[in-house]
Amino acid sequence: MAERPEDLNLPNAVITRIIKEALPDGVSISKEARSAISRAASVFVLYATSCANNFAMKGKRKTLNASDVLSAMEEMEFQRFVTPLKEALEAYRREQKGKKEASEQKKKDKDKKTDSEEQDKGRDEDNDEDEERLEEEEQNEEEEVDN
């Protein structure tokens, strides 16, 4: 399925919600206007990406990072977005940190569990030790999130 970049639209429901919350109560929006805004948002992302990419290339980096996007906002004359975006970024980083710690904690708990289970089984049976070792190895495989 070949899609033109402009056809990649953001979800209508979300766009509508954002618009409604930005406008005073009692104000509605026509379908044409809403879909035009949705398309505009896609164009905005594409334009911002291109701008941000220029900054990344200037810095001889191949990966777009947050500061590239912030620089792009200034370049595009959306300086007023910079402060709220910085705040959002900090909140996001805190959340990501919290998630990472939570999943590491889960892993630790999991390992503790398998250890204690092993001890229980050892008392009852001596035969299945090899199988248990294999299972443990499988559990220790880490999942990597690729970007």
Binding site: I18, A36, V43, F44, N53, F78, N147
Partner: protein, 116 residues
């Protein structure tokens, strides 16, 4: 005579189905209050970023900020378009209000010619 089931207008947009090529909306809005940092699904934003042939990679933070910036943009342009509608004493935002806002506001110049 065959009844035209298509109804009036060129095409009908239904909320939630997202059009032809878009993936169905599998994400319901998260129920955790305050934890929602961005409403736009990052996967969709990422797809837009990847559509740029010059972009090699984009970090998660970059995608997140782009999503948030897009939200701010939608709010901004909606409000600016509303100012135009207010002058016409209307309570429904029309496409022409958007066009007027794009012409009037310098920051929206990049949109000219892209919405048709």
């Amino acid at each position: 005579m065959a009844a035209l089931a298509a109804g009036k207008g060129a095409f009908r947009e239904e909320e939630g189905t997202g059009g032809d090529a878009a993936a169905p909306q599998l994400h319901a809005p998260t129920s955790a209050p305050g934890a929602r940092l961005s409403r736009l699904p990052l996967a969709r934003v990422k797809a837009l970023v990847k559509a740029d042939p010059d972009v090699t990679l984009a970090g998660q933070e970059a995608i997140f900020i782009l999503a948030r910036a897009a939200e701010l943009f939608v709010e901004t342009i909606a409000k600016d378009a509303y100012c135009c509608a207010q002058q016409g004493k209307r309570k429904t935002l029309q496409r022409r209000d958007l066009d007027n806002a794009i012409e009037a506001v310098d920051e929206f110049a990049f949109l000219e010619g892209t919405l048709d």
